[in-house]
Amino acid sequence: GIHSLQSHMSLLTSRPATMPKRKLPNEKLEEIKDGSNLEEKRIQCVFKSESGETEGSPFELPVDISREKLQLVCDAVIKNDEKVPYAFFVNGVEIRETLIKSVGEDVLSNTESALEIVYQPQAVFKVRAVTRCTSTLEGHADAVLYLVFSPDGRYLASGSGDTTVRFWDINTETPAFRCKGHQHWVLCLAWSPDGRKLASGCKGGKVCLWNPRTGKQISRPLTGHTDYVSTLAWKPLHLDPENRYLASSSKDRTVRIWDVVTFQTHIIISGHSSHISYVKWGGTDLLYTASHDRTIKVWRASDGVFCRNLEGHGHWVNTLALSTDYVMRTGAFDPADAKIVHEDVTESGEELSLKAKVRYEEVVAIGGAQGGTERLVSGSDDATMYLWKPAESKKPVARMTGHQKPVNEVKFSPDTRLIASASFDKFVKLWDGFTGNFVATLRGHVNMVYQVSWSADSRLLVSGSKDSTLKVWKVQDKSLMLDLPGHSDEVFAVDWSPDGQRVASGGKDKVLKIWRS
């Protein structure tokens, strides 16, 4: 009995000579590294666009194909007229060097169906990272509170605690105009999308308009708010060719839409029970307002009618960002057409409006099935963010948790694929722009991160913090690229010019710094 069992066992354990030895995963990898099996290892692939349609029929590709060769193959298959660089993704993992390194063994062994490679077009132009501070612009008598470049990157305007707005000549990096008109700190600035007017809001509730070429105020200031103005938002160029309407949100719980031609209040929108921290004018003529009463309300801008209430946050809603923000900010100006010498804009308002509309539709369409509408992301003091599709429903698409302290600013990348969030917990986090999934944490700052700004090609991100440094991050590697110290006190405002050439930063040390590559 026992002996027979033992012999039986020995039969089971010893492999017969005819059966091939089962290969362990390590050995398999070594074989591939040897190079002897490389030509044999091929895999069926098919290119798939973001919207889910497959281009062409499946074909065989060697497993060790590099990204550059993949780009060439893709160009041939897609038959695009322009040369557009692509980023390739398999199962959500980006292909950096070769196909096999990013994909892994087990996927390769599955030879039943063709491997789907999703291709994402990237920006054709490439923005160079800023590395040095070319000038320190003094002039303000108090902290610089807000900085913004004009839509074509030609002018730079800054608002400060010394109640003045200053225009700076970017080419010579010297002061151009000093605009007095407010009696209190200038809290927010907004360029009209055609770049011909600048609106500024102050702590006393006054909104003033300025002409960037002469530095003079355009007629009368717009008074009406009883408490400070937190943000300003112009009507987008594709909806309003003459840039007539401007929305301002205030601590007095109202949003006023001003008619800039008659200098009167067009509509007053009230409904919030607490201080309104942000207002955004959407591309479909909807107004989005975020408030300290923890809600975001959607209004119809044409008549001020309340549409929807977006609830979910547990604390003050600090900031809002729309996926179409960048394209509406730059209006008719395409960053790809940027030139070093700025040219005068000669087209009429109508033509610019049409151009802006074309660009807007393009950006909304990015993402295929996942895109198609404007998306809104809101950041709050409860350390979470929500992703909404406000034109469709009042339920959030995703809740983005991960930060440990209040989220100060959120920004969509210009190609709407990523969201960057700056928080008081010293981190900048990146999230997927369509699903809200977490992508990466960018660590480096030693104190609260106040603001972030994207470069026009969505490949670089600059962040300004309370620790007086700016940091440039490389989005593809999700790592720190450059550290830009130099400010002697907190950095309150950062902006990357839409033509990608300069970054301007200003803060509590009362100086502006211009950074170039």
Partner: protein, 260 residues
């Protein structure tokens, strides 16, 4: 004076008397009358001491009443009075009063170059060997007296291990070893509980510095990374000197003032 928590334990287990609340209320009601009686009846030195104590109590009470009154009137936040403008995202938040920016490494380098320490406590009463060391008698007949035990607070490093007991001349008891100090920033007037990095100099003797003995006036190095300071070059400042201001062996804690 109860030495342990048996009173609380009893109340937890058996509860209080049924008329406890009533009796407490009445006792508190009698208190102002009793205090007034006391103030009237006391004479001499006792009266003086009592009056002094009462005066300081009254000052404190007045301060708290004033604070409460402020809350009733206006909710004006501090940023209206702040010298510098704040951006809109910082407006509703209470921010700490900020001291001017410290150009840390530059100042420290200058001080080191000068050689002299510009410290808050320049002159300290030196501590003698007899005060710091206690003779420990060892040996079979307890006659050998070469070992010394340190009676002051010490700082030993992170990876400290004692020498073999047979060869150990200086004994630094564990109870007198401290890792953290209460450091006050002189300008911000804020105190932080920071880990000690090392003893830089003990004014009494170089031997005490090497042993890590901390007495009043000793300059220690503390880890200030939690303050989040950054130099102009962008580097994070994480160590600074502080001078000890109390007698730690008497108080059980190390109080120091940061040298900026």
């Amino acid at each position: 004076m109860p030495q342990n928590e048996y009173i609380e334990l009893h109340t937890k287990r058996h509860g209080r008397r049924l008329d406890y609340e009533e009796r407490k209320r009445k006792k508190e009601g009698r208190k102002p009358h009793e205090m007034a009686e006391k103030a009237k009846k006391l004479r001499g030195i006792r009266a003086k001491l009592y009056n002094k104590k009462r005066h300081s109590e009254k000052i404190q009470m007045k301060k708290t009443i004033k604070m409460h009154e402020e809350r009733k009137t206006k909710q004006k936040s501090a940023d209206n009075d702040s010298k510098y403008g704040n951006p809109s995202y910082l407006l509703e938040r209470e921010t700490q009063i900020r001291a001017k920016i410290l150009s840390n490494t530059i100042k420290q380098k200058r001080k080191e170059k000068a050689g002299k320490w510009d410290v808050p406590i320049p002159k300290v009463r030196g501590v003698s060997d007899a005060e710091v060391f206690k003779v420990v008698k060892t040996g079979k007949t307890k006659r050998k007296a070469w070992k010394r035990m340190v009676t002051k607070v010490t700082y030993v490093g992170d990876g400290f291990t004692r020498k073999p007991v047979k060869y150990e001349r200086f004994i630094r008891p564990m109870a007198l070893r401290f890792k953290k100090a209460n450091v006050t920033h002189p300008e911000l007037k804020a105190s932080f509980f920071l880990p000690i990095l090392g003893v830089k100099k003990n004014p009494s003797s170089a031997m005490y510095t090497s042993l890590g003995v901390i007495t009043k006036g000793t300059v220690i190095e503390v880890n200030i990374s939690e303050l989040g300071l950054v130099t102009n070059a962008g580097k994070v400042v994480w160590g600074k000197y502080a001078q000890v201001t109390n007698n730690p062996e008497n108080d059980g804690c190390i109080n120091a003032v940061l040298l900026v």
